[in-house]
């Protein structure tokens, strides 16, 4: 039996072992030397509340609505709600005097349903809903988990790195 790449599988049979290997003891000592060395290696732990994780622009944090000159870019087309595999987004549109003609009266994302797939961002024709770099989501009851427009709006300055990344990626 060979592995899929044609190499011999790594298999140890007790009859192939030398006498000392079969007594266990030298092997155990080897293992203990290894663990003793590990004790003095640098640690990987991030001391979270003090040491924060700074995501790359490619990171998909919580989805937000892009706010430009005080108004959201969203035109309430509903594509994001349509594409959302977790059915987390609810949009209700209406007409407005502004150039974009339509705007969302209600835009809600249930953060308990959201799976951070980023499909809404991909589907959006206006680049109005994008994934931010925020990953700290805290709520104490299911009602608080439904984020309305007040929590979803985020200015373009704050989202600059992500917007640049998206432009490069497209």
């Amino acid at each position: 039996m060979l592995n899929s790449n044609g190499s011999k599988p790594f298999q140890v049979r007790s009859k192939d072992l030398s006498f000392w290997q079969r007594t266990y003891i030298p092997e155990i000592v080897k293992g203990m030397v290894l663990t003793a060395k590990q004790m003095f290696r640098p640690k990987f732990t991030r001391q979270y509340p003090e040491e924060r994780f700074n995501p790359q622009p490619s990171y998909r944090g919580r989805p937000v609505l892009v706010e430009e000159e005080g108004v959201e870019r969203c035109v309430a087309c509903g594509l994001c709600a349509r594409v959302c595999p977790a059915l987390a987004i609810e949009v209700q549109g209406s007409e407005t005097e502004l150039e974009k003609e339509r705007y969302p009266v209600k835009f809600e994302i249930n953060m308990l349903r959201c799976i951070f797939c980023g499909f809404c961002e991909e589907a959006c024709p206006e680049e109005a809903i994008i994934m931010s770099d925020e990953y700290e989501l805290v709520f104490t009851n299911p009602e608080d988990a439904i984020y309305g427009k007040d929590k979803l709006l985020m200015s373009t300055d704050r989202l600059r790195t992500r917007l640049e990344f998206l432009r490069k990626a497209r």
Partner: protein
Amino acid sequence: MEFLLISLIKIVIVLLVILTVVANLVYVERKVSAFIQNRIGPNRVGWMGLLQSPADVLKLFIKEDIVPTNANRFIHSLAPIISIVVSLVTFAVVPFGDTIHLFGYDVKLMIADVNIGVLYILALTSLGVYGVTLSGWSSNNKYSLLGGLRSAAQLISYELSMGLSVVGVIMIAGTLQLDRIVELQQGWHWNAFLTPIGFITFVVASFAETNRLPFDLPEAEPELVGGYHTEYSGMKFGTFFLAEYANMITSSALIVTLFLGGWQFPYLETFGLDPLWVSIIQVLAFVGKVAGMLFFYIWIRWTIPRFRYDQLMNLGWKVMLPLAIVNLLYVAGAVFIFGL
């Protein structure tokens, strides 16, 4: 009256020391395991996380104590008590220092000077299995029962080689009194050097007796959920936890007493120190040796994976028992030829 009072003081001191050491041992275990896995470990509660164990105990006390519906309520409550009592009581015969002269009294630094100390220890360590097996049976849970049965099988298999390796020490010392055994290991005449095979078999058997990692089949988490303490919560679970660590301390103390010279500090008499200082250094030597053994226990735990059940039985009956018998013959021959 004086005797009673001195004994009582010794009991209280030893009990307090063991319980504090247990609490800190849990902390040390978590720290060492963290370092071995390149982590930091508990560091939030108190300075360097030192208050983690008291916080955990407090949490365990506050938690709800659940007894399964069809469990045998009496035995379910009795089992953790058996475990902790056995592991603490065994310490009674362990000498942790030479006779010390304090406030006009000659105080022997062991709680009970029993002339059959070794037998007492072997008897009580075998009793420990009742706690585990009864908890497994009374929980009315298949995983608990399996854990309890495994523990019974494991302890019987390893008790034999443990007993036989102690017989070697008894033959060299010619006594069952633990303080005599320690006195005879003066200087570098430690039994570990005189009977190296017996030392190894005894250490391995103690790992099995205390259910520590290469042999922690009774509680093997991935296979048995939690083994014998699956159905325990709150401070009953905490008691099992305490018992495990108290067991570790007791068996480390036994290894040190029987094989590593107990409180003996080599060449101490050549320094010409005050007798009181000599006694203190001897107690510290004992504590240091036990601490070293405890670290060894933890180190082994985070190095070696668990044995399979058949491997455990093979090792116990086909390797450890013959080795212990070979050791016995070797010691008997040596004692016969050189005469001790």
